[in-house]
């Protein structure tokens, strides 16, 4: 099948997106792939597949490749001899800012380009961890207790130590710290506020079980990946996460009861339905005292969580043929007509 992979973006996760795209080139071999890179200044470049390696971008070699612009229905390469349109389904693989905050979603919606990825409202509720909490509350999904801080707030933390400090809007553990005691707090807050003016504080749960589950909607059914128990470290720092984003080996199923798998899936479905249609998302769960907590929603997971799917290619094919319909409204001028004719014009 034909698919355009859109990656890069003006985001703290720009490099991670490049790694994801290179990984998918390998995982989706056999597909007819185009690669479109969004540079830091929001210029789009068509990348020659044979040049899909990290140094192409770090050395700026992409700037010699064809520039694309957006038109209704497609990305377009214009030249003196005419124009070439790229109007295949787009896989939005821009992690973090631009890609996950709703900007790219809105841009593709506006230009009527079909895409795999979260729509604007789904982006709002997953990009900002504060709004994920609101979503959980509204949908009666358990999530970890939390406190919000802005950089102007007095630092009156009511959550007990150890705690975890996160910028509200970044992924990939950027700016995240575990704080064991009060003396470490100021440094952790400074690190987090460097990336976002809103910070979220949660208790750091020790001895908790973590499980990841990915899935997507096709033909009005949710199709789930296997459940993974991710590598157990205190948490992955940015560099480890970075390497993690190039994963392509299928992982082992977590050794848990069918009943727990069922409960993870049902929590996933509660979060997904009515909001994430069109996206393949990964939900990260905690299990504490046999209760399932939703920790995070990754609406564009690293390398699309390919390693969790038994048949990743078929999953992408199924999803891309079940994308939400465009919502373009047909405008009429009935009121203006009726008012004009009443005036005798």
């Amino acid at each position: 099948m034909k698919l355009t992979i859109l990656f890069g973006g003006a985001s703290f996760e720009h490099e991670i997106s490049i790694v994801s795209a290179i990984t998918l080139k390998e995982k989706l071999s056999g597909f007819d792939l185009n690669f479109i890179f969004c540079d830091n200044d929001h210029t789009f470049y068509l990348i020659d597949p044979s040049k899909m390696k990290a140094t192409t971008f770090s050395k700026g070699a992409h700037k010699k490749m064809p520039v694309l612009t957006l038109e209704n229905g497609s990305f377009v390469q214009k030249s003196m001899f005419g124009s070439t349109k790229y109007n295949d389904v787009v896989l939005n693989l821009i992690h973090g800012g631009d890609g996950e905050d709703g900007t790219i979603a809105a841009l593709l919606d506006f230009f009527s380009i079909k895409y795999i990825g979260p729509r604007v409202d789904a982006s709002t509720f997953s990009y900002d961890k504060r709004y994920t909490k609101w979503l959980c509350e509204a949908k009666s999904i358990r999530s970890v207790d939390y406190q919000m801080l802005t950089s102007d707030d007095v630092k009156d933390i009511t959550i007990k130590y150890p705690l975890i400090v996160k910028p509200a809007t970044l992924g990939s553990s950027i700016g995240v710290s575990i704080v064991k005691e009060e003396s470490e707090l100021d440094y952790a807050l400074d690190s987090a506020f460097e990336y976002d003016k809103n910070v979220i504080i949660e208790p750091f749960l020790e001895g908790v079980k973590e499980y990841n589950l990915a899935g997507y909607m096709a033909d009005d059914k949710i199709h789930f990946s296997i459940v993974e128990e991710p590598q157990k470290e205190e948490f992955l720092d940015f560099e480890k996460k970075y390497m993690d984003f190039s994963r392509s080996e299928q992982v082992l199923k977590a050794d848990i009861s069918d009943e727990l798998v069922r409960r993870l899936k049902s929590t996933f479905e509660k979060a997904y339905r009515g909001m994430f249609e069109g996206a393949l998302i990964r939900c990260d769960f905690f299990v504490v005292n046999n209760e399932v907590y939703l920790n995070e929603i990754n609406p564009i997971p690293g390398s699309m969580a390919n390693y969790l799917f038994e048949d990743f290619k078929s999953s992408i094919e199924a999803l891309s043929s079940s994308l939400p319909h465009s919502k373009r409204v047909k405008v009429t001028y009935e009121y203006i007509h009726s008012i004009s004719s009443a005036k005798g014009k």
Copy 2:
């Protein structure tokens, strides 16, 4: 001052946006205004100010005017002799779909064009009435009890009659019905589902007092309009609302206590801060048993609620010089560089 008014959009409120723009042309006389029209097919046209009348659009005469495209920092008119840039602050005056759902906000963000209007997350929380309820819950703002329905749901309504049925995402009373008894319910639901797959049902509160209050943030302070007690009818149907959108006469202050004004303002501020910066919004309140309820947030009110401000021109000037900073991140390639050099490349 210079200002570009962006109006139209592929929306059920397309005609209302045209009326709003024509009204603002009059209210902002003395400003150096450009008018950019977004057609149903998402083409942008530069409209000659002397042609700013409703029939220009209903008769399609705008299609003969210059087409504009988007570039980093501006709308651009290209011709054989070069290009003209329009890079003034944009007032997003597209009501409903496109304008209030975050699409135009994201588009202007992406192209680094400064604008008056809600950002993407603020759009999500005001465009869809379900998410306004979530916002109210999260910020401890009172709102009317409600029930959500999708077109697949069994119609098991637990709210008592009379009730009000609204499509989740439209403004201007489109698709809204008051239902006095069960026999009228099916027709009301059909009307609402014609516009949206999600519908919200609320009790219809009789004898309630209604108050509207507009405001915006400038220099880190909220600047409020007067409080209006809107014209009392059961509710305004689309045609009456349409005429309502061309209001330009300043209205009288509601005859209420200073204490109630203070409580309306404090509820407004709770909803606004940390979300609606950059926008001039109008909040519509109910007062029941001396309690303030937030009914609706209009993040792009009809003709910008000009009739509620004592000095509307100065308000627009103050807001446009206090717009949120662009969030463009500076990309680095430090991880790719460090990995490449570790590999000896």
